[in-house]
Subunit: 474 residues, 2 copies
């Protein structure tokens, strides 16, 4: 038995301004309008044939992830979740995933660990590698997936191959190597002995737990403490912060793979990319004769080898420039030399230092019930467009400082204001005075779209008193 | 007597995305938050001591120009206007301005012609040049202002100096020279005989009319026809389109100055700039050690000699780039190599070909009664923020296809809906069904701010039936 485990952790700061803490890289949409996460889910199910998928992610992303999954693969799959209160790198996450799979499917069950934010272009080749990995894992090995390098990349770690094993493209791992400098990377490439470390793994749950216990007892023991403290009936499973905070923040490579003597690799070239920079994303698009790529609205004059992405309808014009990526969102724009696109992290650090909203939030913010987009954020009013999904209901709430004026523009909302409850149809509006309990619900089968005009002196998200909330946010 | 004449014509397409047809270059705000037009007005009054200023502009800009003037110089100045239905270059405009000044102040009156969108840093030096020009004009000369060149500029025309005259820094004009190629420009610079042609002039109205009659009778006669056809009591003076369309579209340089034998120049270095490109605007700002200049919100990493302007709160980040101008507005961004910034025109041409709104309108559109900003423009609704100035009133109007929901967020509005008329205060809202006459007015002393949510199927500006309009737009 084989359960895919999707690890959906990092913030993807190198892909700002599209990837942000509240809506990180796995939720980014590519040219085909699919998110990386949707692609990962479909791939996980296709190569394993499983009908259960376990996802380890932050609790902040639970509703959004579940929505993406349901949209992509429907209701017939069992979407199991482990929700982290904060990140602790991959070793504790994999330990807890292994404990979950062990408790549900037994210790001989294999896990295929996949990051949620990678791309694999050649699914058949990947499937073949997974099949080999299954056989290696069944022999008690801890299997990594190595990628045949196509260039001297300095952004990845490498695996040095050891003795060949009895299966196709499979080797002992002689050494795990950190991200190299350019010169080293070129050496690795020309030697033919090195593979990129993809961060994907396959092992039986008993084997990885045993390897953790022997090689990193602190990770193992702290994970066991978390496991003992959590509510096993929780749906989704929530990791208790008090215990989880004691887990060392360490990668599975450091904690286990570099030390275990049963670590092997399956290698291959299956069009893998961690799309870790705007350069890599640009390369997914066809270029014109001048080497330019445009997604969205762009005009290029006397320019070469540029990539423009403008997703929110804004016009981007470039003149007399070469080798630039220009990424435009509703509230921010990035202009970077293609070869410097790894440095986007530094921008995000500066934004965090400045406490600038664009480090974390987009103008559109996702909520369990749907989403809102900020249309105006002024001193005298705040205007939002709300989208409420069918069957969803916002919390029963009250604001101290602001009144709200709602105008439905699509769908039919059920509205409670004080003790009154009534339906509000498109082109109808209502008024919620400050200090009045109210609730918004979509009882229909289509999205409700509504414009909310807030008036008053203060419009912060912290002026919400929640009384009842179906999503457990009171 | 000396009347300043401000010519406010061109669209300033080289300064897109800030300068657009509906809000062109003279209305651009510089670092000190003043518009070019405000600066030109103040300069015109300072150097002439006049209390009348005549402005020739498009009728589209009348209200906005008047508002800028009143804000800058108050009610004590007589702001006279000639409104063009469309542009016909400078010769017809100057001819009609001369006829206007002649009719009001007599033929011996001098005009100081100044474009509305230039900068002059050294007002004292300019005043001295104007004083010299007065004496030259009183002798019957047509005076141009030549600027001592500081570099081999290819973007300006040049004046070659002839014989010295009896006044300081004044010469015959030996030749008018078109914008030169780089090599020629360098020759001109090193010879010391050439000045930049600033497009400013001084002459007595009888002299310029006589010069037009002898050198360009077609301009003269067609301008006389326009003059005969217009309503001289009009306030402002509106040029009749039917006659004005017969005026040749030609500059005063071509029509008169290059041919007349009484053409002279006053030269000087008074910190003049036509700020005809983003490069020139960037140079108005202090740079940091890396040569970077930021107006608004910007982060620069590993970048040199860049100019960022972001006026509407959006964050601009740049990495690993040099010599770029990055200009961000609410709905568009320009990224240009500094030395290519003259090519912005080509972007505007392409936008016009695509019929793209950003060639013409900003998200904020000015109206005689105030302004509106488009917050959302979707298929199911359009949301605007309206600002109505004190004492102003929108037209009595009706829409076929859309209903409107108004929420006042600041001030007190007087609202008519159907036959009802009532006051609407902050935090109050009202509903205007489709096909209902309505009117919005600000009877108070402070601006009224209002959020308008339009619902229905069509939201174009052409679905406005106007019944009464104090600005003559019915």
């Amino acid at each position: 038995m084989l359960i895919p485990v999707i690890m959906s952790g990092g913030a993807g700061t190198r892909l700002w301004p599209v990837s942000r803490r509240a809506h990180p890289k796995p939720f980014m949409r590519l040219a085909d309008n699919e998110t990386l996460m949707e692609k990962t889910l479909a791939r996980a199910l296709a190569v394993t044939g499983a009908n259960t998928v376990l996802t380890v992610t932050s609790r902040d992303y639970y509703f959004l992830t579940r929505d993406e999954y349901l949209k992509k693969c429907g209701e017939d799959i069992n979407y199991d979740f482990i929700l982290e209160p904060f990140g602790r790198n991959t070793a504790p996450a994999i330990a807890l995933a292994a404990l979950r799979v062990q408790s549900q499917f037994g210790g001989q069950t294999k896990m295929l660990v996949m990051p949620a934010d990678h791309l694999i272009a050649d699914l058949d080749a990947f499937k073949a590698a997974v099949d080999t990995a299954i056989e290696l894992a069944d022999e008690g090995n801890l299997v990594t997936f190595g990628i045949d390098p196509t260039h001297a990349e300095t952004g990845y770690g490498y695996l040095r191959q050891g003795a060949e094993l009895g299966f196709k493209n499979s080797f002992q791992v002689a050494e795990f190597v950190e991200k190299p400098k350019q010169e080293k990377a070129e050496e690795y490439l020309s030697s033919g002995d090195y593979r990129w470390n993809s961060g994907m793994f396959m092992f039986r749950v008993n084997d990885i737990l045993q390897a953790l216990a022997s090689n990193s007892p602190d990770v193992y023991n702290s994970a066991m403490d978390v496991w003992a403290a959590l509510d096993p009936e929780g749906e989704p499973l929530e990791l208790p912060a008090e215990e989880f905070t004691h887990c060392p923040s360490i990668s599975i490579d450091y904690a286990v793979m570099e030390q275990a003597d049963n670590c092997v690799m399956v290698s291959g070239d299956f069009g893998w990319s961690d799309i870790g920079s705007w350069k890599a994303i640009g390369e997914l698009y066809e270029s014109d004769e001048a080497g330019n790529r445009i997604r969205g609205k762009g005009i290029l004059i006397d320019s070469r080898n540029c990539f423009i992405q403008s997703d929110e309808g804004r016009m981007v014009a470039a003149i007399g420039v070469n080798n630039l990526v220009i990424i435009d969102t509703g509230d921010a724009v990035l202009v970077s030399d293609t070869e410097h696109s790894q440095e986007v992290k530094q921008v995000v650090s500066q934004l965090n230092l400045q406490d600038h909203e664009s480090a974390i939030f987009h103008k559109t913010v996702h909520r369990p019930w749907g989403s809102f987009t900020i249309l105006e954020d002024a001193t005298d009013c705040k205007v939002k467009r709300l989208t409420v999904k069918p069957g969803q209901v916002l919390s029963l709430q009250r604001h101290q400082q602001r009144s709200e004026h709602w105008t439905v523009v699509e769908g039919v909302a059920k509205v409670r204001v004080g003790d009154d409850e009534f339906l509000l149809k498109a082109n109808q509006s209502t008024y919620i005075p400050a200090n009045t309990m109210h609730r918004l619900e979509n009882p229909g089968a289509e999205d409700v779209h509504l414009i909310e005009v807030q008036t008053g002196g203060y419009f912060g998200e912290d002026d919400i008193e929640r009384f009842e909330d179906v999503y457990g946010r009171t």
